[in-house]
Symmetry: C2
DNA sequence: CTGAAAGCGCTTACAG
DNA sequence: CTGAAAGCGCTTACAG
């Protein structure tokens, strides 16, 4: 269903009166040199015939596709769409396309959502999703460079790129403590393992000799954040501040607090996590821990292109951005 | 850089003691029938050798890649990330992968951002971006099925799928009129041509015998929406209501109104356009015109797969969702 | 029901 | 500087 009778390398070669090899040399700028006059003839033929190289054939012949795959839970989450954007930018800067795989979509569309992926000849894979052991095994068998990004549950087999979740969370909580809050809650996800963000929150409170506030575990979605915040708002002994594990949750939580008649930050101060653009346009604007998304994306792509990376954990520090939600 | 010494069809065939053609027949369930016993031998060999078919070779041989391309201005805009998600879902349901191209990224990464696209052998292309005439010419030469989505400036050459922008905008404005507003402004984009949303707003006001309110033209970004709203807020003869052309603009505008000390909807009522999830979690929740995104996405994919679609305009009606931003 | 073989459109050693 | 040719890993008419 591509072009009906598409122009091929051979057509160009014939028209220019050279071999198809020469056409390749011209188009790829190598590996052989071509005489200027010949070169011009080829270029003219290309233009005249409207020739477009077939990327598929090229990929088959070269044994690589110049394409990187990226697995993401849900691209509708602003954090992930910013991450995808950054990785895409990095990939293109290095001459690669990025094929984004929404694991959400796959999971609903097919029982074995990674199946199609398996036959794809990616140069590498950026994993922004937590996979089941079975899925991980499948991925490993792909035998291509892999980098985990945005995951704190670092797998032993792969290189992992992320922020210092623990320290970031601790700093966020400390900021609330420094502003005089004594009852500081936590809203986060329903992880099976301990979320380092929850851990960092605990650590900060413990260090300050403060009691652990209540923790609310929600689905990582707007609806989840809204419900958790509503629950918090109805608490008889309400906390005066809350550290929320993602901007998406925090934005929905803000709406819930408003709906419950709470003023931010007067009644409930909020510090969030991620530093997406959305956090700035929330009402009130969110104080949030910023992830250096582009730097992480660049790193991921560079490592992949360099070949299978060492299974280490590359950790970026976070920076806090002070805004009105915490009274700043 | 794919698997070092990957297992090929030939290896499987040899191991199973059949020809590579038979392996194909088994794996593709056709076009020939294979004896059950032989079939089982092949399947066993596949499992034992850990064979993964090479999608690139398959694509070259079949002349198609089962991949659809989608060009989007900026995936970080929630409306587009929801649209991409929907199209991805539709594509996978039909057995195709979706390669998303951020024209933003391409434009900054390469002068001719569509160049790489040209050699890709897509089965079809979903265009959610307005292209320059030169870019359009390039795309046409691709000679593959194309569908425009989310564009009101319908090109004559292509099928176009979208909502009834004009009617949607009119209904949005009428809602404000029905609630008694007399001074209704408009915040929209800086389009060279007349945005039908602006046109619909005008029409509603004219029909009601109301004077045209001021119109604020902004970049389609959060920053753009914020600035436009700030300008509106400072107006001496401030409007009491505003129709805003997208949720992204409206969310940023809400923040600006709050920052300027205006209450929504008491001082300024807002009706927005798009119906993204974000609109629901804004404060206050936005009354907005909902686009039937999934239906549009399904339609786009179905048409592409059926072959080059007729250059018609498929228009979906919009539905208003009433929420607090308009006092509902 | 199974096999030998041509072909998809490139790339790239190998000769000249 | 240029060409003839093998090869990438599949698919699929064509024979048997």
């Amino acid at each position: 269903m591509t072009a009906q009778k598409s122009v091929t390398r051979t057509d160009v070669a014939r028209y220019a009166g050279v071999s198809s090899a020469v056409v390749s040399y011209v188009l790829n700028d190598g590996p052989k040199r071509v005489a200027p006059a010949t070169r011009q003839r080829v270029l003219d033929a290309v233009a005249l015939l409207g020739y477009r190289p077939n990327a598929t054939a090229r990929a088959l012949s070269r044994g690589k596709v110049d394409m990187i795959g990226m697995i993401v839970p849900d691209i509708r989450n602003p954090y992930f769409s910013e991450l995808v954007y950054a990785v895409d930018l990095a990939a293109h800067a290095r001459g690669r396309s990025l094929l984004v795989i929404n694991s959400d979509v796959r999971r609903s569309a097919a029982p074995n959502h990674l199946k199609g992926l398996v036959s794809q000849q990616f140069d590498g894979l950026v994993l922004a999703d937590t996979l089941s052991p079975a899925e991980t095994a499948l991925i490993v068998r792909l035998n291509i460079p892999i980098v985990l990004i945005n995951q704190f549950r670092g797998a032993e087999e792969f290189m992992s790129i992320g922020v210092d979740y623990f320290d970031g969370a601790r700093e966020a909580t400390e900021h609330l403590i420094n502003r005089g809050h004594k009852k500081i809650a936590f809203i986060g996800g329903t992880n099976p393992a301990l979320d380092p963000r929850e851990h960092g929150w605990m650590e900060a409170l413990t260090e300050a000799g403060l009691p652990l506030g209540r923790r609310y575990r929600a689905e990582f979605s707007s609806a989840g954040g809204y419900e958790a915040a509503m629950e918090l708002a109805r608490e008889p002994d309400r906390p005066t501040a809350v550290f929320i594990a993602s901007d998406q949750l925090a934005i929905a939580a803000s709406a819930a607090f408003h709906a419950a008649g709470l003023r931010i930050p007067e009644d409930i101060a909020v510090v969030s996590f991620d530093g997406t653009t959305e956090s700035k346009y929330n009402w009130p604007p969110l104080t949030t821990m910023v992830q250096p998304v582009q730097a992480m994306a660049d790193e991921a792509i560079n490592r992949l292109i360099a070949g299978t990376p060492e299974p280490t954990f590359v950790e970026y520090p976070m920076k806090i951005v002070l805004r009105a939600s915490s009274g700043d």
